[in-house]
């Protein structure tokens, strides 16, 4: 055997080793058949301990180490430990929730609390349809830790429970309250003497003015163009009412091609046609586009209220980022200008097979206490789903505008959840359609067609569990 044979043989060996992606199955389905309850921790329920926490049971918490970091969670853990000094808490943080935890779910030994968030989020539909999540109903009925006379459910903002509910069961606790809107810098606007426009026609006129001043009116995350689906769908809902969103969530036939969606898509096409979008935006990711916006290269950007903390490092002093609702199309709108999309976000779950389910629920109760929520808001500049916890807390500029927008929106607030039900529909399919539309490669009709085709493919896929919501 000479040198070349060895080379050739090693190439053949490489053959077997290279598509190592085949390894994804890992140690797969063998482990963890339904084990008996023997290994789980249960305490005695009492008035002081409504969830029946075993006081010395260890608690394992896995946090998504993203925009919010992990310090806030350590503070919550310390609060839990204060109440249960004998409990040992195992804390870890990762950016890859799915890859880190998948084997443990299969094995039947998941952690007790998981912050299922970020790009490595486990598809919630997958977890729900495999009965991998503990029912959090008991938590809702339990009394709040430090708001006297109220159950946990009573302390939550409207919509917080619905977002995490699947077929009527509350399975995912979304901790933050996020407002989606259009952001601008009041500093830039007052310097230039611009006024945020309340109607679409005025908005287009303003865009023209901004462009004439040498600034791009809009930019967006071209690599994640779904960010632009949010204001577009919001415009449609404000025109046609919440039923527009209901139809989309329930995968009704031609929900994406409703009259309201058509009118909204036509309206938004104006900023594409008139080139009111920063050149090169289709090639920017969310950070790059947000940074361009912070540098004053563009006037508007669509984002959720995590924007302020995500941009903390690059926002110039006195930038004063402000959130505003999408402009109204006209007097025919069913919802007023002030209506914004507000929803609970940042999902937390307790796996059904966790050893310390009661501890997990109690940990949530700690997070949802006034003290826990206020601490979170202070640490990461984001609202929680607990109502009224911003009183007495000094809020950063952007977050203060979020609170104001929410108050103004009041009972007119709206939301949709198809992205929670069918992650693929928003992340892949609508995302791709938005990319084509906002870069000018497809027309409004083609855009809605592509979205509808995506929704139809989900509806026809019998391997995906479907959910319906009533209102």
């Amino acid at each position: 055997m000479n040198r070349r044979d060895i080379l050739r043989r090693s190439a053949a060996a490489g053959l077997l080793a290279t598509p190592a992606a085949g390894l994804l199955a890992g140690c797969a389905t063998s482990g963890g058949d339904d084990k008996s309850d023997a290994g789980t921790y249960k305490g005695t329920k009492s008035e002081q301990n409504p969830l029946g926490v075993k006081e010395d049971a260890p608690l394992e918490v896995v946090i998504f180490n993203g925009g919010f970091g992990e310090e806030y969670a350590k503070a919550h853990e310390a609060m839990y430990k204060e109440k249960y000094p004998k409990a040992e808490i195992k804390h870890s943080a990762t950016q890859e929730i799915n890859k880190t935890l998948q084997p443990r779910f299969v094995d039947g030994t998941p952690p007790d609390v998981v912050n299922n968030s970020g790009a490595g989020q486990i598809d919630p539909n997958g977890l729900v349809s495999q009965n991998a999540l503990a029912d959090l109903g008991e938590l809702l009925a339990a009394p709040s830790l430090d708001i006297p006379g109220k159950t946990v459910k009573d302390t939550l903002l409207p919509g917080a429970v619905e977002v995490g509910s699947y077929d009527g069961k509350f399975l995912v606790m979304n901790y933050t309250y996020t407002v989606y809107g259009i952001w601008h810098s009041t500093k830039l606007f007052s310097e230039r003497n611009w006024q945020y426009a309340k109607t679409w026609d005025e908005h287009i006129a303003l865009c023209k003015q901004i462009k004439a001043a040498g600034i791009a009116p809009w930019t967006y995350a071209g690599i994640h163009p779904r960010y632009m689906s949010w204001p577009l769908i919001s415009t449609a809902i404000k025109l046609g009412g919440p039923s527009v969103a209901l139809a989309i969530d329930n995968l009704e036939p031609n929900a994406w091609k409703s009259d309201a969606m058509k009118t909204a898509a036509d309206a938004w096409y104006q900023i594409v046609k008139d080139k009111y979008i920063l050149e090169g935006s289709p090639g920017l990711d969310h950070k790059q586009s947000q940074t361009a916006w912070c540098q004053g290269k563009a006037a508007f950007i669509s984002c959720g209220s995590w924007l302020e903390s995500e941009q903390k490092d690059v926002t110039p002093a006195g930038f004063n980022m402000t959130v505003a609702p999408t402009p109204s199309l006209g007097s025919g709108d069913k919802l007023p200008f002030e209506a914004v999309r507000g929803t609970a976000g940042e999902p937390f779950i307790v796996p059904a097979k966790a050893k310390n389910v009661a501890g997990g629920l109690e940990y949530f109760r700690t997070m949802l206490s006034k003290k826990g929520a206020q601490d979170f808001t202070k640490k990461v500049a984001s609202l929680t789903v607990v109502a009224g916890t911003t009183e007495g807390v000094e809020l950063p500029f952007g977050l203060a505008t979020v609170v104001k927008a929410l108050e103004a929106s009041g009972s007119n607030g709206f939301n949709w959840v198809y992205n929670n039900y069918y992650r693929k529909l928003e992340r892949n399919l609508v995302d791709a359609a938005c990319g084509e539309f906002f870069s000018g490669r497809s027309t409004p009709a083609e855009f809605l067609d592509q979205c509808q085709k995506g929704a139809d493919s989900i509806a026809q896929d019998s391997s995906i569990k479907k959910y319906k919501r009533a209102a």
């Binding site: 070349r4 490489g14 992606a21 085949g22 994804l24 991998a132 090639g283 693929k424």
Partner: protein, 302 residues
């Protein structure tokens, strides 16, 4: 004397074989089994569904789209990389004008050789991030250069017409260096007197490359071909980090499809394993074909 060696040989061979069996072979076999189930990845429950996943696959437009891109990679990446690798290696070993025999490299050969090898030292992730910035539509190196000479500056990774080719270019760029070194080393082993003889006979450099160098390097080229073909069927890391298959699936590859199905937007591990199984057979057939097609009589010169 011999029997004393067997325990030694066995004790050296056994651990790697066991590791290979446990971490490579068994997952493979398991992937085959999982591909016939509807396993969703987060419970131990997986019901057999027979060949249903493969039937779905046949009609999955996104998978076909990804396969089409892999086919283009397969057709272009090995050819371009080997051609460039051979060209550079030739220049480095025999491109020099000086020297009576005409078989020395261009000036500064050792520096070039080092520079060509740089991409090979970087991890693929770094390469992906590096090029993502180079392709940045507004502040990237590439568009900066284009604007400086007054040319239009496209959005590269944000444009479905270019995104895939941008990734392909990076794939070639990151591979060439290794093959320059590999071919260069093989060329060093070719006896100089052969070149001197053909030069005396009046052969040009191109003829020399075609008639002497390549035939004598054929084994090495063949190995390069197989490696590159396998790499072309993968391409996952670059695509996932640079474009994640976008825009509008224009740069999708089969590896990315598999990843997205299992870990990305869905948790269909059964279906993802079916994609993996298809990938396995594709890679296997491509490698066998490449070996067959490239088979020639070996030329011995020593």
């Amino acid at each position: 004397m011999r029997h004393g060696r067997y325990p030694l040989i066995v004790s050296f061979l056994l651990p790697p074989l066991v590791l290979y069996g446990v971490f490579v072979l068994s997952p493979y076999l398991q992937a085959f089994q999982i591909s016939t189930t509807d396993w969703l990845g987060y419970s131990a429950q997986a019901d057999p569904v027979g060949m249903a996943n493969f039937r779905t696959l046949l009609h999955d437009g996104y998978v076909w789209n990804a396969l089409k891109n892999n086919a283009i990679l397969l057709a272009l990446v090995p050819v371009l990389t080997i051609a460039l690798g051979l060209f550079f290696a030739t220049m480095l070993t025999m491109g020099g004008r000086k020297g009576r025999a005409g078989v020395s490299g261009v000036r500064g050969t050792s520096v070039y050789r080092l520079v060509y090898f740089f991409p090979q030292v970087l991890s693929v992730v770094i390469i992906a991030l590096l090029w993502k910035e180079i392709y940045h539509p507004n502040s990237g190196l590439l568009n900066g250069a284009l604007r400086a000479v007054g040319l239009p500056a496209p959005t590269w990774l944000g444009d479905p017409r270019f995104a895939f080719w941008c990734v392909l270019a990076v794939m070639v760029w990151s591979n060439v260096g290794f093959y320059v070194v590999l071919f260069g080393a093989a060329m060093q082993a070719i006896p100089r007197d052969i070149y001197e003889a053909v030069l005396l006979d009046g052969a040009s450099r191109a003829v020399m490359l075609r008639k002497i160098t390549i035939p004598l390097l054929w084994d090495t080229v063949q190995v390069a071909w197989i490696y590159l073909a396998i790499a072309a069927l993968d391409g996952f890391i670059l695509v996932q980090l640079m474009t994640n298959g976008g825009p509008n699936f224009s740069s999708d590859v089969i590896g990315n499809r598999m990843y997205d199905t299992a870990f990305g937007s869905e948790t269909k591990f059964g279906y993802a394993s079916a994609i993996g199984v298809v990938m396995f057979f594709l890679t296997l057939s491509v490698a066998v074909l490449a070996l067959r097609a490239a088979r020639r009589d070996r030329i011995e010169f020593s």
